[in-house]
Structures are given as C-alpha cells and as structure tokens.
Amino acid sequence: MPEPFYEPDAAVEAVAAAGAGGATDFAVDGGRTPRKTPEGGPQGTGPVGPDPSAASGERARSLWSDAWRDLRGNPVFIVSGLVIAFLVVISVWPSLIASGNPLQCDLARAQQGSQPGHPFGFNGQGCDVYTRTVYGARTSVTVGVCATLGVALLGSVLGGLAGFFGGAWDALLSRVTDVFFGIPVVLGGLVFLSVVTSTTVWPVIGFIVLLGWPQIARIARGSVITVKQNDYVQAARALGASNARMLLRHVTPNAVAPVIVVATIALGTYISLEATLSYLGVGLKPPTVSWGIDLSAASPYVRNAPHMLLWPAGALAVTVLAFIMLGDAVRDALDPKLR
C-alpha cells in the first residue's frame, strides 16, 4: 500500500535522532566541540546516491494520484461508477433506451402488467412505467448533482473561511449551523415547500442546499482548522505568503478530501430526500417526472398492481446505493489513516 505522507526511513531517522541527539559527544574541556564525523565521510555533500524512492523509478506521486490508483483497483468503485455513468447517460439522453413519451398516457391501459413493448407495464393513469422510470433518472440526477454542488460550494466556502480566520465569524457560523441542525428535514420541507407553486426542480434544490450546507460547513471548518495548524502553513506564513495564498494553495488542497467524501455520500441521500418530499406531495409536482411522485401515486394500489411501485422504487434504491457506495470507495481512497 503506498504511503503518501511518511517514508519508513524518516521514522527510523527520527528515532535515531531521539536516541542519539542527547549523546552528541561534547566535552567542556577547551570550549571546543569535537563533533564526531567519520573522516572522509560524506560530510557537506550529503548522501550522493539517489533516494530509494527515486531509484525505484516511480513518477512523482501525490495524494490524488495515489487515491486514483486505489480507486481503479476497487470493485466497489468500478460497479458503482458504471451504474452512475449509465444513470448520467440516460438522464442526458433518455430517448436512447426509451422511445416513448412519459407524459403520454392511455387510461384504458391503467394498471396493466408487463406486455410486449411495455416491459414494466402501465401505471394508474395508463402511462408506460418503463418510460417514466427512465425519465425519472434525469430528475433524480439533476436534483442530486445540483444540490450537492450547491451544498459543497456554500458549505465549504463558509466553513472554510470560518475555520481559517476563526474569531467572531467562526462562533457565529457555529451557532447558525446548530440552528440548522435543529430543523427536522421533513418538517422543514413541509413548511417551506408547501407554499411554493413552481413545478421546476429548483425550489427543491434550493431547499436541500439551505438545509444541507451546515453539514459540509462543519466538515470543512474542522478540516481547515486541522490543516491550518500544520507546520507547512506556518512555514508559508513565515516566508511571506498572504492569507489568500495560504488558503488557496496550502490549506484548500489539503483540506478538501473530507468535503469530497461527505458530499459524494450526501448526493445519494439528497436523491432519496427529493423522492421523500415528492412522495409527500411537497417536493416536485406533475408534470415533472419523478420516482417519488410515481411511488406516491402507486402506493394505494400496491396489492393489486405492485409493479407500479416496485420499478421506480427499485430504480431509486439502486441509484442511492450507487452513490453511497461511490462515496465509501472515495473515502477509503482518500483517508490516509485507512492505508
């Protein structure tokens, strides 16, 4: 397993220094310090041979290239990555695999089961369940990705700045995040979204960003505070770097990994949150095609026509699972402690 931060020989040197540092031989006799260096030893020029790590011929590695190599070999990442790639493709071009129109319904065929050309059957309004399930992916992916981007951006900027500068803003932000953590998500959704009449996905995304950013802000704040205390940030400061440069070049690249991990896992939960809100009737509204809406419409008929519920529910479960698995794989790759 590649070690991104520590070389074994560095540890050995540290131990050697700790053991030998006190024993540097020195006599108070003539005020001179005979320091023991082997005659003709490599004094001054240092070891001439290249380091072992350089000799093995590997290219310069960073945390990110290590993480990428780790991910490529992880079956969890490959499977979830393929599922997500497929979801993204059908969200952009749903007509690739579904030729019908999700809004074209025929009441005469309501609740009918699987039949040629309509593998998943029809729903209560006589719409094709297969087409609606495929088109539902677009909504879920859009909400998930946009909400995550918004949450990550807002949360990491606010949390990062609070962590870096500390002081009153930090105290204020911490209290504000406490307030937001106190709001139950579903109750908040019922209150906020029930007054919204728009049928687009944006109010739902906005609501998720509003309630989601404190989680990322806390992670980013903690991460920035940890990184800020590192000697290299102090060193950069001692060598004249400005706050902006320290923050962008030294703190952010070292503090961003936990944010990425949490955001990836959160993406899955945002998709299920959208479905939950839509199921309750406060999230997305028809004619938007959403798995949550379909689940809600199908649930009264689950005994007679379970296919109407099972297909969108299955799609939702697979999507959420894929994102959470991806998040797990990314966490394993980015967390040096697990190496």
Binding site: E3, P4, F5, Y6, E7, D9, A10, E13, A14, A16, A17, A20, G21, G22, A23, T24, D25, F26, A27, V28, G31, R32, T33, R35, K36, T37, G41, P42, Q43, G44, T45, G46, P47, V48, G49, P50, D51, S53, A54, A60, R61, S62, L63, N230, D231, Y232, Q234, A235, A236, R237, A238, L239, G240, A241, S242, R245, R249, H250, P253, N254
Partner: protein, 336 residues
C-alpha cells in the same frame, strides 16, 4: 543593568529585541511565555538561543517573525527593531513583505513544514512567484538552482518530486533553500537539526553555516543542544522561564558559565570519560508558566539559592568581557 553580549566587530545591529513580553491566554489564566527578553544580532552574526522546551525561545522567534498565533498569544510589551524599523508598529501587510524577503525561518521538522500536495519545485518556486512576480517556468529554474546550492544531488531530476520522496536531511536542505531563496538579511532556525540523525545533523549544520557565511546573513539558531552551538555561533543567550539568564560570547560560556542554570546544562551533557557514572540532571522541572516562582524563577532548582533569590528578581548583571548573568551570585558561579 542591561548588558548586551559583546559584538566581536562593530557591524551594524540588524535585529534588536528589547524587553519583549508575550503572554498566552489559557483557560487557567495568562501563561507568561516571554518575560522581558532582550537580545540583538548584528549583520553577519550568529546568535544561539539556548533553553529547555517551554523556555520561550521559539515564542520569541515567532514574535520576531510575526507569526505568533494571535489570539491566544499576545505581545504585551517591548519592541522589536529590525534594520532600524520597529516591526511591532508595522501594518500586517507591510510586515508580510518583510517575511521571506528580509527575514526567513527554518523549522524543526522539515517533513511537516513542507506541503505534502505540492512538489518541492513548486514550493521553492513559490518564493519567487510571490515576492518577485516571476513566471512559473523561471521560478522552476530558480528552484533547481537553489537545490543545487543546498547540495541536493540530481536537482533537475528531483525538482518535480514530492516532499515524502526525500529523506529527512534532504528535506531540511529544501527548507533551508526556501528560507535562503530571497537572500534575507536574517535567518531564524528553530531547532533545524533536532529531527535529524546525528551524522546528518552535522552536515545540515555545516551547510547552514557555510551559506550563512557566503551570504553574510545574521542567524538566530534556536536549540537545546549545546553540542550544535559551539562550532557555529558567535554568542549565546540562555533562556529560562521566558527570560535571558545568561548571555556571552560562545567560548566563554563553556569555559566558565556565570549562571547556575547554564552550569547545570553543561554538566548534564554526557561525557565519554564518565562511563559508568550516573548522568547529572538538574533537579526539578521547568516552572509552570502560569505560576512562575517569585524572585529568581530558577531558585527552586538552584543549588546556590538563598533567601534573596526567593524575593528579588535578579537583573541581568554586567559580567566582565561583555557578558551578562541574571544571578545574584554570578561572581560565585563564575569563579566557584
């Protein structure tokens, strides 16, 4: 009463720290980390600041550099004059321009002092990008030049590598290269060799001393290792509980310390001719900075302590040959 150690030649004073006080706010009250430190460094001179952990030597350096964590730290008094300017009155923006360009710092642990996600070339080059507005390509060439200068073999091949791919000694050379990049007038090295293997320690110290001579810089060498000091320093300031307790030209102090604490430090160095004997250690522990003992801070551990030491804080007495000692009984110590 304030005796500054004699400067061997009359070079102009580069850095003059006067009566500096630094406190740290803690839950249990103010920890007085630095209590009236006074020292000066002339151009091209090397001052070694010696002391145990917690004696305030690093905090003084951080105050000089302007990288003290504020809060909890706070400079409560004194002045720091650098090339005639009082640094404590400068605005943060002006202060930042002094850092790196006119004074630079080398830290103890080079591994943690280098950013793990940037290659060493990028970090070295950053000095030129930030302060000189150089292009990335020129900065990279300068980085190779610097790595050659600190005698890193195969600099051109290794400039794109990351800190973890270098050995401890090589990393410390890179830190030195970063500090020297803009040829500052003053370098502060905070225990630059403590984290290194003994043989590597010698190489790094020699390199630092050579480069200091070449560039005629002032150097403040912070250390707790008396062995490191003797070859390199011109004068020594010994710190205890945030004060300078003894200051002297380097060789005088080894011959005849004028403060019991210095004497204790010298006696606690293991010697080859003492094989089999018990090692000497100064009794007791360094004082808690929240409750520094009244009078002389060293009196609870001092073999010479008398009543006056428990009540009166000794000033830094003038000792012949441009030395100073903050001991009421310096004569006794010096000649006894």
């Amino acid at each position: 009463m304030t005796a500054t150690p004699g400067t061997p030649d009359a070079s102009p004073v580069l850095l003059d720290v006067r009566d500096l006080h630094v406190e740290f706010r803690t839950r249990d009250g103010a920890a007085r980390a630095v209590n009236g430190v006074t020292y000066s460094v002339a151009e091209g001179e090397t001052l070694a600041v010696l002391g145990e952990s917690g004696s305030g030597k690093s905090v003084t350096a951080q105050a000089v550099m302007g990288i003290l964590d504020v809060p909890p730290g706070r400079i409560t008094g004194g002045e720091i004059r650098f090339q005639g300017r009082d640094l404590l009155t400068l605005k943060e923006d002006e202060r930042r321009k002094v850092r790196g360009r006119e004074m630079a710092m080398i830290f103890q642990d080079a591994l943690s002092s280098l950013n793990p996600v940037l290659s060493v070339g990028e970090q070295l080059g950053e000095m030129f990008v930030v302060h000189r507005g150089m292009s990335r390509k020129d900065a990279r060439n300068k980085a190779v030049e610097l790595m050659d200068r600190v005698r890193i073999p195969a600099a051109r091949e290794r400039v794109g590598q990351y800190p973890h791919q270098f050995s401890g000694g090589m990393r410390q050379r890179i830190m030195i290269a970063m500090a020297l990049a803009l040829e500052p007038a003053l370098i502060i090295a905070d225990e630059p060799t403590t984290a290194l293997d003994v043989t590597v320690q010698a190489q790094v110290m020699d390199l630092l001393a050579d480069l200091r001579r070449e560039l005629a810089m002032g150097l403040i060498l912070i250390t707790h290792d008396l062995g490191v000091v003797a070859d390199v320093a011109d004068k020594i300031a010994v710190m205890y509980a945030g004060r300078i307790v003894e200051s002297a030209p380097v060789h005088d102090i080894y011959k005849a310390p004028a403060h019991p604490y210095t004497k204790g430090l010298l006696e606690s160095i293991p010697r080859l001719d003492q094989k089999g004997q018990e090692l000497y250690a100064i009794k007791g522990l360094p004082p808690n900075l929240l409750r520094i003992p009244p009078g002389c801070a060293f009196h609870p551990r001092c073999p010479l302590a008398r009543d006056v030491c428990r009540t009166d804080e000794p000033p830094l007495y003038d000792v012949p040959d441009g030395r100073g000692s903050a001991c009421h009984f310096w004569q006794e110590t010096l000649h006894g």
